[in-house]
């Protein structure tokens, strides 16, 4: 005797979508159900449409809601690995590094080392970049799927990249970017025609939209923190408080504390002042601030949506009668609410 099991489509669809995603070569778990494709002649259900809408909202959340500023490390004078390290979980083929060299004359070689995290790991010199002029921006790309002068790392392993230089003169190197990418799996933007009075919303039109969402690859599940940075009350130290922002949202939210007497710091977007915070006289003061890019009260040139920018905090004034004066930036991120 044969049995027929009637399973509602709403139960089957998520399973089939996951299976289809797997068969399509999806490398990472997206954390949401892929919207199903449609066919001419079949009803367009609210359930199917909501899967599409839900997927889009998930993608939006992934890229917009966790938009924390990332540290741009400044390294000065003769610097060692312990003051300039970056941590990565190996997920993509190419390691992209960009540094800005400032104020150095004949600095010599900027050396880049790699080692796996954990005890008793060996540090390997994986790249040497001669620096002969300044200012200049150096861009370095390394294939981390191949042996880098003895260093090998597998997908999912955590490793550390650090910079070293032994030049003793003043000046510095700022790490502007440090990330992995793989050009072979970079998403390609779809072309979705605007609906007009002559547009037939058929299988082709709908599946073009649905496929564009289905084909967005999952990102590595690595969550990077905001590095809170403190600085003592001298002007030279201001350059340390610098982060990479990627403009997506309406607001920047940021916080800081100021200590010991009159300290004034300015927060800047691409070197344009958006806010000045003065502690007045007194002990520790805590501040939670925000800046609205849309109303733009400081009248700055707002970065375009999707553009990167420099977010920094700099001492504007320190009462020299309070040598222990200091500032600490505790958080900074973009959000729409």
């Amino acid at each position: 005797m044969l049995f027929s099991i009637n399973i509602p489509q709403r139960f089957l669809a998520p399973v089939l979508a996951r299976l289809l995603g797997f068969l399509e070569g999806e490398k990472m778990n997206k954390g949401y159900v892929l919207p199903p494709l449609v066919k001419d002649g079949n009803p367009l259900s609210a359930y199917g449409l909501n899967q599409l809408i839900g997927s889009i909202n998930e993608v939006r959340s992934e890229y917009f809601d966790y938009n924390i500023m990332k540290q741009r490390t400044l390294m000065v004078n003769s610097f060692g690995a312990w003051e300039s390290s970056y941590i990565l979980v190996h997920a993509f083929k190419t390691l992209y590094i960009q540094v800005q060299v400032e104020g150095l004359n004949d600095m010599g070689d900027l050396k880049i080392y790699a080692k796996k995290t954990g005890k008793n790991q060996t540090s390997y010199l994986i790249h040497t970049a001669p620096v002969t002029t300044s200012p200049q921006v150096l861009t370095i790309q390394l294939n981390m799927d191949t042996n880098q002068n003895g260093f090998n790392v597998s997908y999912g392993e955590i490793y550390m990249i650090s910079f070293r230089n032994t030049y003793e003169d003043s000046g510095g190197v700022v790490c502007l970017y440090m990330y992995e990418f793989d050009s072979a799996i970079t998403p390609v933007a779809p072309t979705i025609p605007t609906i007009t009075s002559s547009t037939v919303i058929d299988e082709n039109y709908l599946n073009n939209i649905i496929s564009s969402v289905r084909s967005i690859p999952s990102r590595p599940k690595v969550n990077v923190p905001f590095n809170g940075i403190g600085s003592p009350g001298d002007y030279n130290a201001s350059g340390y408080m610098r982060w990479l922002g990627r403009h997506r949202c309406k607001y920047i939210f940021y916080g800081c504390w100021l200590i010991d007497g009159e300290v004034e710091i300015q927060f800047k977007v691409n070197n344009q002042v958006i806010d000045t915070v003065n502690s007045g006289s007194g002990s520790v003061q805590f501040y939670n601030r925000s800046y609205n890019f849309q109303t733009n009260p400081a009248g700055i040139t707002v970065p375009a949506i999707g553009a990167d920018y420099d977010f920094s905090a700099e001492f504007d004034y320190v009462d020299e009668g309070h040598p222990a004066a200091a500032a600490f930036v505790t958080y900074a991120y973009e959000s729409d609410w």
Binding site: I161, P187, P220, V222, P225, N227
Partner: protein
Amino acid sequence: MLQEVESGTNFSTSTLLDVKAEIDLLYPIVVSDYVNHAAASLFPHNGQDGERDNARQSNLAFMHRYKYLVYASAPNDDGNPLVDPSGLNEAIALPVTDGPDEVGEYDLSSVSWLTPGMFYWVRNVMWAIEIEKDDFIYG
């Protein structure tokens, strides 16, 4: 954020236009930011007793997202508190690793007050990241 549609309601082109507009907005961001960011380790202010002083003052701010916190303690004996900035909840004492070379791991799902999207601080560490371990099936 797009609003879901209700079964039984009229379906209009405006819904699809909203979907198109959202995809057109998202894709440039997705394309430009389809990368695996590095987490910066902490560094000294002026190279003066740097590692110790800076790590003691360190303050990593996380917007909670994934299950596991992977970290390396700073070379001091101040402990590694995981802090609710609001002060409403007791700090959690993360196990201290044997110096910055040893890697620690903590299951954040065991922190009762920590919910997705919530801000929290981790102190006195050289570095820390959140990961979802089961996801590492790349390549």
